[in-house]
Symmetry: C2
Subunit: 247 residues, 2 copies
């Protein structure tokens, strides 16, 4: 069982992804927000790669059951109902709703990975669910770090450390069978270095510091709570829903 990893979703070729099992990780904040929204009863999340497409798609859906969520530069997109803060996605706001979701890195990586055989959404708040899912599937996986579009090479430390946590936990139980690549070994080393305090790490990354600067410290605190939202969002067709335990 091979665990490969991409630090850089811009490199993903949609055809390369076809028939792979993928986890998309965008800790700050798309993956976290999706786990919270679905935990709080949102019907589904529809990840799109551009504002234009978000507007186009929402035009053909019923207004009373559809919300538009997402961000540019961390802030709510003009004309959207919600930003990308998990704290906005309360039960009152999202229950029963379809959410068209457009973020700078996360929703783009999810959209690019839409032809995957299986696609789960990973973050610290649902890490164990993701790890158990990988074990259940029991096949090769590609961990995709959504990264940071305005960094050279798109690298973001928080996504790498979260991916590394997944590798670490898989290693602990299946060391004999697990084949790692350069990138998944690197993520593992980064988790060992920075994983002792997730909150401290998140506060010190480039994007963490930016989010604090624009007023989202509480989002970072929520994002650091390992397994606090034990759900498994998976893509099916074009929409992300929770995988029910019985499936």
């Amino acid at each position: 069982m091979k665990i490969d990893l991409s630090f850089n979703p811009a490199e993903l070729d949609e055809l390369q992804i076809r028939d792979k099992n993928v986890v998309v990780i965008d800790v700050l904040r798309s993956s976290t927000t999706i786990a919270v929204a679905l935990s709080n009863g949102a019907r589904e999340i529809i990840p799109v790669e551009s504002i234009e497409n978000a507007v186009k798609i929402s035009g053909s859906l019923f207004g009373d059951v559809t919300l538009r969520g997402g961000e540019r530069n961390g802030k709510t997109i003009h004309g959207f109902n919600l930003g990308n803060s998990p704290l906005e996605y309360t039960e009152t706001t999202v229950k029963g709703k379809s959410i068209i979701f457009c973020t700078t890195n996360g929703s783009v990586a999810m959209h690019r990975s839409r032809f995957a055989r299986k696609l789960a959404i990973g973050s610290f708040i649902n890490a164990t669910k993701v790890i158990d899912f990988i074990k259940d599937v029991g096949a090769d996986f590609l961990l995709v770090c959504a990264g940071r579009a305005n960094a050279f090479g798109n690298f973001s430390l928080e996504d790498a450390v979260c991916a590394g946590m997944i590798v670490y936990e898989l290693m602990r139980e299946e060391s004999a069978d697990l084949e790692l690549t350069d990138s998944s070994r690197a993520a593992l080393a980064l988790y060992k270095t920075y994983g002792r305090s997730i909150l401290k790490m998140l506060k010190e990354t480039e994007h963490g510091r930016y989010l604090i600067e624009i007023g989202f410290l509480e989002d970072i605190k929520l994002s650091a709570q390992v397994d606090s939202y034990p759900v498994l969002p998976v893509l099916n067709g074009n929409v992300i829903k929770l995988l029910k335990d019985e499936e």
Copy 2:
């Protein structure tokens, strides 16, 4: 002084690079081979991004002073004089010669970075020269890991660890002034994890294992010898030459 880093040269925009100070790192083996070739008296190295261009350029140069070197899948390109093994670039072979150089990752990253303000070529065998050069310039630098074209996201561990060694040594002396990004912090952590035995690390990376498989273990041993070729190859115009100490 900010040290940024790209794990992924495919993302580099030539215009983004303009006016930046850059070090291109391709430990296995382009950077290593260039340092050896210039140490052994090669007149200059001309990095090109494609075999087509290598052939085109060499057609207009004098045959007796020009060699073509490079690889595809680690092996000598058909019709080229030399492969990408540093052991081929002996004094007898390269002294006084211009070498048109075409490799899968390294020469492409060098070509893409050709508009940099300053561009040095880094590897373990000339690490301290590169570190001293960065200190001398005393300005922001971008470390470009040439990576591995056929890996997801182009990541290669050996280039990341070498970049991390550079960051580590800069930190030791200039900790107060040094600003790191997510990617340069990650490289630093990878150096701390894997830097204790460079040879062991090189043997265990994906590309290291491949090179051993096709018979290049001696290249890996040479590539692991820190500071064994204390020279500084720099790009000037379109050619790489040694920076003389008096410059």
